[in-house]
Symmetry: C2
Subunit: 340 residues, 2 copies
Amino acid sequence: MSRFENRTLTLRDVSEASGVSEMTVSRVLRGRGDVSQATREKVLQAAKSLGYVPNKIAGALASQRVNLVAVIIPSMSNMVFPEVLTGVNSVLENTELQPVVGVTDYLPEKEEKVLYQMLSWRPSGIIIAGLEHSDASKAMLKSTNIPVVEIMDIDGEPIDSAVGISHQRAGRHMAQAILEAGYRKIGFLGTKMPLDHRASKRFDGFKEALSKADIKILDHEFYSGGSALAKGAQMTQEILKRTPDLDFLYYSNDMIGAGGLLSLLEIKKSIPREIGLAGFNGVELLEGLPLKLATMDACRFEIGKIAAEIISNRVAGKKDTYDRITALKPKLDLGDTLKT
Amino acid sequence: MSRFENRTLTLRDVSEASGVSEMTVSRVLRGRGDVSQATREKVLQAAKSLGYVPNKIAGALASQRVNLVAVIIPSMSNMVFPEVLTGVNSVLENTELQPVVGVTDYLPEKEEKVLYQMLSWRPSGIIIAGLEHSDASKAMLKSTNIPVVEIMDIDGEPIDSAVGISHQRAGRHMAQAILEAGYRKIGFLGTKMPLDHRASKRFDGFKEALSKADIKILDHEFYSGGSALAKGAQMTQEILKRTPDLDFLYYSNDMIGAGGLLSLLEIKKSIPREIGLAGFNGVELLEGLPLKLATMDACRFEIGKIAAEIISNRVAGKKDTYDRITALKPKLDLGDTLKT
DNA sequence: ATGAAAGCGCTAACAT
DNA sequence: ATGTTAGCGCTTTCAT
């Protein structure tokens, strides 16, 4: 292509090719208005024919501005976080800002590392899942003077601001709906993940609401790893073998709930009469099952969207349009598996 | 925290706090060996107590090295690309390199934009899905002198190197397996996505192998948008209403295949006797269905892993351990829905 | 509307 | 083992 095989092109190359100063080239390329039409065209033409791509590293260093937003999430592989990202993207697409994603695998040490990495790029904002962080992570987040939005959860004190739902409340509400429907012998099935604080909070809220009605969970089952659908089926069989008189199963996520649902349909259980089921998340993916699983929408897209709006507003210097804590209200969907 | 609320800390601050030159601080922080134990500790201590986070922007500019690998994929929301990313991560985790992901939504113009954005950060390597790119994208990829690995597909000429499977071959093989099993009245169900070249190639290969046996697809159905599970169910009902004597349905992905499978079980079709089914991708997510859908593994994790290895080897200056084109062989899994 | 000079915060290369 | 100097490729600021 070019004669310079071993280095990338610089402003200077475009400057020489177009016979205009580097400064003016820079102005044209950043789309600033104060350049004559004639020079603008000359420069654009030269840049294009050379195949010049600006160096953001140098630009960022000089301008002290990095149009990156760090998004730190625990996982990529379940349905929930990709949808949060879609929400983030939907907003950032229309701005100069660009999301950069880091994954923590639910490990605080990894969160710490990822956060440090991200901060070392001096992003314009941080969106990070959860309110629970290691001391070191908290220290980093606090001492930074860029906007920080903690997402998904609002049961706790945010460092800067937070957008999410109350998982305790979500658990309570599901319990109340189950009790109202007349179910009394309730089992819980979830992940063996002490570090998934939001799942724990849902479980806590759930048990709390039950105990107000003097009901206790009759049995529970936890899993880790493996295909969620298969695990859901397997755990369901096991919990029912051990405690056959259960009349309701609350699953900590829709995927294992769907596995349970399918396995119960196969053995011809009558749902929701004989046994009721509910999951959590509202994953659209699962629409199309023979019966629609009762669930609660976690407002994932909305959370991503609002978080990105907060960052983008702050970066633009506008005053906040959201409160320090934005509490979204998850909608309960009874589906076909929670009798009314 | 610190007295300097409005600027982030620099090497200079650490240098002053520790009474050591900036250069030595830099050496310590980059973990280079040529520093005495005493100074090393002094510096580390100072950096930690100040809460110093290095500025990679400046470091990258000075060293002309950016430890970023751009990963450009069409979508985040289906199961396939997150798993590729997991493969990429599994390798890059053990290196200095860090993946940065860009999403194109299967749109060539967006790919062009994302690629330009990525290149402007001067990454150390590029992993990009597919072999089909706009002329401008190709020009950018060609004129770059960093390693470029095109992934998922090998039916075509790579710019630099490629890792993937032949989707034409995958389609052919599935067709052969179906024919061998004795099915003759075959329907196809897929996405209405002319820009998903890999799906098209599978379809082409599939039709080609059928026509060698003088068989033509009896009917087909395309969809776009919506929940894949639900769409699969719906399309299946429709194609069978229109062409009731179909004895096999080939789905362009496992998700719609699963939807079809569930809907056929519900109307008590005998699978695989009365009608056979197959999908594509081998999504682990679906293990746990009442019947295991026949499918073909797309080697997603492996593809990501090898692509990252190629980049990481090249960056390390080692000579290539993989060929220009690495053809992975997808395994056919007959499951329970393709009779033998 | 255009240009010249200075410097962003680091690191390479060369002292000592 | 440690320090000094000179940039990296841009943008800011100040001239013209």
